[in-house]
């Protein structure tokens, strides 16, 4: 395994972990969505790095998978944001558990 | 809903572009697109390029910002030279100031009343002004007053002279009557 791949693997691991942390610890949905998108990025990075992107001819299969994944992620995010606006409109709060609940 | 629409006087509103304006801009657009296409693909896919350029031109005509002004192609070169030179000197100027140990700046606001008509000339004015040494167009206030942020505002008149210089160049480029350069 090349050093480049190692670096990016560790990066992916770290970003994924940070994303999980952010998701669990964030209160606002917008932040949680950001965290999820970070995790998505990390997953994609891992997929490509593991696919041997750094040495030899790049493996096109993970690239195609990530491309699909990116499009799915953006659709899901866009829908989530629309839903978020609706949530704010319907409940007056953009948190899942309003502060007074705690 | 935003404050802008409430405060913007009607004089600044852009009238619905005429058919001629659309055509003119569409053609200009198509030329630009053609150049870009060639830069992107070379000469490999000319037919698709032609179709795309026509489609892009149509889209440009649809999205036309306002009345385009006629300009003379030959004057482009001189104008480009002016533009290049002023942006390079603007870069040097700001780099020097940023790296100066004592930060050689003295920010100040300056108002300058434009005489250029709305549309392309004024657009060009507002955008290029930000690339000139020491000036930055911050807002276009009612009555065509341009709010300029000057990095070296200790000598307002020098700044005004720079702005006026640009205004003159643009007027010349579009074959407009020379502005007074007074800005008040």
């Amino acid at each position: 395994m090349s050093a480049t791949a190692t670096i990016y693997l560790l990066t992916a691991a770290a970003v994924f972990g940070i994303g999980v942390y952010g998701l669990l610890q964030a209160r606002q949905i917008l932040r949680q969505l950001l965290a999820i998108n970070l995790m998505g990025g990390a997953t994609f990075l891992l997929l490509i790095t593991l696919g041997g992107g750094a040495d030899g001819p790049p493996d096109p299969v993970p690239q195609a998978m990530v491309l699909t994944g990116i499009v799915i992620a953006v659709s899901a995010t866009a829908f989530a944001l629309a839903l978020l606006v609706k949530l704010q409109d319907a409940t007056g709060s953009s948190d899942l558990d309003p502060p007074d609940a705690e | 809903m935003t404050t802008d629409s409430a405060t913007t006087p009607p004089s600044q509103r852009i009238p619905t572009p005429s058919g001629r304006a659309r055509l003119l801009w569409g053609v200009q657009c198509a030329v630009i697109l053609g150049v870009i296409w060639l830069a992107l693909t070379g000469v490999d896919a000319l037919i698709l390029g032609a179709i795309t350029v026509i489609a892009g031109g149509t889209a440009g005509a649809w999205a036309v910002p306002g009345m385009p002004y006629p300009w003379r192609p030959l004057r482009l070169f001189r104008f480009a030279g002016f533009f290049l030179w002023s942006s390079i000197s603007g870069g040097f100027d700001v780099a020097w100031r940023a790296l100066h140990p004592r930060l050689a700046i003295d920010p100040r606001w300056i108002r300058y009343r434009l005489e250029l008509p709305a549309g392309q000339p004024r657009t060009l004015m507002v955008s290029i002004l930000s690339l000139l040494p020491g000036t930055l167009s911050a807002d276009l206030e009612p009555d065509n007053v341009l709010l300029v942020h000057a990095l070296m505002g200790s000598d307002p008149d020098a700044v005004r002279a720079d702005v006026a210089q640009l205004e003159r160049e643009i007027a010349w480029f579009f074959s407009l009557p020379e502005p007074s350069g007074d800005g008040r």
């Binding site: 696919g51 | 629409s5 031109g57 889209a59």
Partner: protein, 312 residues
């Protein structure tokens, strides 16, 4: 060595930005951090020899998602009105500590496992390279997307359609806070930007579609670029949300799915399996349909509206 240093800088940047996204001072700052994360991510893709992804990341990650996040944040603020945000932005310490710990453990575990991975030959990837000539395209990613794994791509169009349908449901009883208003037409530069960027986005979209056969690019990147032009039109108020999608919009929305399925089905009576491509022309036909559908879907998702209406 110097290449490694570059990778290290990119990696540090990514991790730091991720951290700042999560721990950002306020939501806005977190969004900006995330947008920048996307920028650096495309550098990482570049370094990993994945220019297709760099293109997609540039168009989708940095362009559309960023704008979408900012605009949503703005809509939320408008809806919130003058009511100040109540409560802390993040959870209390007793929750933060264990989650932090869990995340750290996850990172360590993932990292350890990733490092201990053997360098396996990628069977499917090798096969893809070997059999690429049968496809008639020379960009392996396009080959995988529209040939070997075309079925994924087809279902992915379903995902896009579902997302639009979802936005339609959500928008049905609620007009989302209007987009940054038509006021911007009066800002001279925006009009100019628009009149240039929209045609160029069209051009670049077609270019990417055309290039996709042999070089990085393809329907997704092209569609995203075209969508970016549409997003700009929405942002500047040239297009505004409509209650209903017009017939043309509906047709374009399902075009990708329908054409893809149709072409896939065409070969069935001839004894070929489902989704066998009749030829390279079919790939381009499908890609064109996909591009249009993707672009329109993304724009509609951005507007969070069932349909769009022209203004001006």
């Amino acid at each position: 060595m110097i290449a490694l240093a570059m990778d290290a800088i990119i990696a540090i940047g990514l991790v730091w930005l991720a951290l700042r996204t999560v721990r950002g001072a306020n939501v806005f700052s977190a969004i900006i951090m995330f947008i920048v994360f996307g920028l650096i991510m495309s550098l990482a893709w570049a370094r990993l020899h994945a220019p297709d992804l760099a293109l997609a990341e540039a168009a989708i990650g940095a362009g559309i998602t960023g704008a979408l996040l900012l605009v949503t944040w703005r809509r939320l603020q408008v809806l919130e009105g003058s009511v100040p945000q109540v409560g802390a932005e993040t959870r209390s310490l007793w929750l933060t500590l264990p989650t932090g710990l869990a995340a750290a453990l996850l990172i360590a575990g993932l990292g350890w496992v990733a490092l201990s991975l053997p360098a396996e030959p990628a069977t499917a990837g090798e096969l893809a390279w070997q059999r690429l000539p049968e496809m008639g395209v020379s960009n392996p990613v396009t080959g995988v997307l529209l040939g070997f794994r075309a079925y994924d791509t087809l279902l992915e169009m379903g995902v896009l359609l579902a997302a639009w349908l979802g936005a339609q449901v959500v928008a049905s009883e609620h007009r989302p806070g209007a987009l940054p208003g038509p006021a911007h037409e009066e800002v001279p530069l925006v009009g100019a930007l628009l009149s240039l960027v929209v045609p160029i986005s069209l051009l670049v979209a077609v270019y990417l579609l055309q290039a996709g056969g042999s070089a990085p690019g393809g329907a997704f990147q092209g569609g995203a670029v075209l969508a970016a032009g549409g997003v700009l039109l929405c942002l500047t108020g040239r297009l505004e949300a409509a209650d209903q999608a017009s017939l043309i919009e509906r047709v374009v929305l399902i075009l990708g799915l329908a054409v893809f399925s149709g072409v896939g089905l065409v070969m069935l009576p001839l004894g070929e399996p489902m989704l066998a491509m009749p030829g390279v022309w079919a790939i381009y036909l499908i890609e064109t349909a996909l591009l249009l559908s993707i672009a329109l879907t993304l724009v509609l998702l951005f507007a969070a509206a069932p349909g769009l209406r022209r203004r001006l």
